[in-house]
């Protein structure tokens, strides 16, 4: 609750167009917004686009923030919507590009690191294959540690729907990653 701690002065200053206030607000939320964007898209370039769009939208529409929900929820809602919009606009041809790039970046002589990167690539790819509605719930849960109630507020659905989506996501991920468990891959 960054903004709640510092009061509403920051938002008011942003509404007045004060550049320092924008910067302060950006610094308060930059890592959260970027993290959600990156974990949802699985691609750093796409994450930068989503994060940029989110902050541009945030600064343009900050006058619309009425305070019915918390500011955190409002920001998460913005980034979640940008993620889903971005997904609709661009269907990625190579869903594990980032994982593959990470593998390629690993030092040639470090086999253990290479294997770790590969397993991470499997997890990323499995998450990336989830339908967007399930994936955004997973990202908000595991990247941001939001409760079911908070996720429900961000996604404008009921906590029961969130629970159902996460359950379906877990089942799908267990199914897709089960072969790695049998190989003992997680102990690498």
């Amino acid at each position: 609750m960054v903004v709640e701690e510092t009061g509403r002065e920051l938002i008011e200053a942003c509404r007045r167009g004060e550049r320092e206030a924008f910067r302060a607000l950006f610094d308060a939320y930059r890592d959260r917004v970027y993290s959600v964007a990156l974990r949802f898209s699985g691609d750093s370039s796409a994450a930068m686009d989503i994060a940029q769009d989110t902050f541009v939208k945030l600064f343009d529409c900050i006058a619309d923030f009425r305070g019915e929900a918390s500011f955190d929820t409002w920001v998460y809602r913005l980034v979640a919507n940008r993620c889903l919009d971005h997904r609709r606009k661009t269907r990625r041809l190579f869903p594990i590009t980032e994982g593959l790039a990470a593998v390629l970046r690993a030092p040639d002589n470090n086999l253990v690191e290479l294997l770790k990167q590969e397993f991470r690539g499997h997890v990323t790819a499995a998450v990336d294959q989830l339908p967007p509605e399930l994936r955004i719930a997973v990202v908000l849960r595991y990247t941001e540690g939001l409760s079911y109630d908070q996720i429900a507020e961000v996604l404008s659905c009921s906590p029961g729907t969130v629970a159902s989506r996460l359950h379906r996501a877990h089942k799908a991920l267990e199914h897709r990653l089960s072969h790695l468990i049998k190989k003992g891959g997680w102990n690498v």
């Binding site: 930068m48 994060a51 940029q52």
Partner: protein
């Protein structure tokens, strides 16, 4: 849900630090109120032009086609060039059925003097026109297939109406006189 998956997701999806260049991109991409106003100032004239063009095109389209009633009035104002000159009701009816695909049943006991018929083409529609004289006035009966642009109230009693699958319109300086084509008792 298994614990390993919970742990693995928490590890693999952990938060990360945003790149420093994100602020530069946000600063560059953010639209200031002045920029938004400029955006509208540039595009508003173009939008107004498009709206005017669309409005003119719509008005022209309406003028070109109009309703069957207005078409009949315009025909009456112009010089009537008949394709078929005949005073025989049966011949006119047969000719219009063949050339325009419309059925015109003129009672034999009509009080009017038939002059002939012609076919008017509007877009893909053929409209049959019967020209006649009544009480010294020229009158026209236009018959078009219903549907598409030509629609009319089903009520018979005005100068345009629909009956079955056809729309009818009459034009005459004395509209009631035009009705005697079919209603001799008037």
């Amino acid at each position: 849900m298994s614990e390993w998956l919970d742990l693995r997701l928490a590890e693999e999806l952990r938060p990360v630090k945003a790149p420093e260049e994100l602020w530069l991109r946000v600063s560059a991409g953010r639209r200031s109120p002045a920029r938004t106003a400029r955006w509208w100032m540039i595009r508003m004239p173009a939008l107004v032009c498009v709206a005017v063009v669309v409005l003119i095109a719509a008005l022209q389209s309406r003028r070109q086609t109009g309703t069957l009633e207005s078409l009949a009035a315009r025909e009456l104002e112009g010089s009537i060039m008949l394709d078929l000159r005949s005073s025989d009701a049966a011949e006119i009816a047969a000719w219009l059925r063949r050339e325009a695909g419309v059925d015109v049943a003129i009672p034999p006991a009509s009080k009017v003097q038939l002059r002939g018929a012609r076919v008017i083409r509007r877009r893909d529609t053929r409209i049959g026109e019967v020209a006649y004289t009544v009480g010294g006035n020229t009158a026209l009966l236009l018959v078009a297939p219903a549907g598409g642009f030509y629609r009319a109230p089903a009520r018979h009693g005005g100068t345009v109406w629909q009956s079955g699958r056809q729309v009818y319109a009459i034009a005459c300086p004395v509209p009631l006189a035009a009705c005697t084509l079919c209603h001799a008792s008037l």
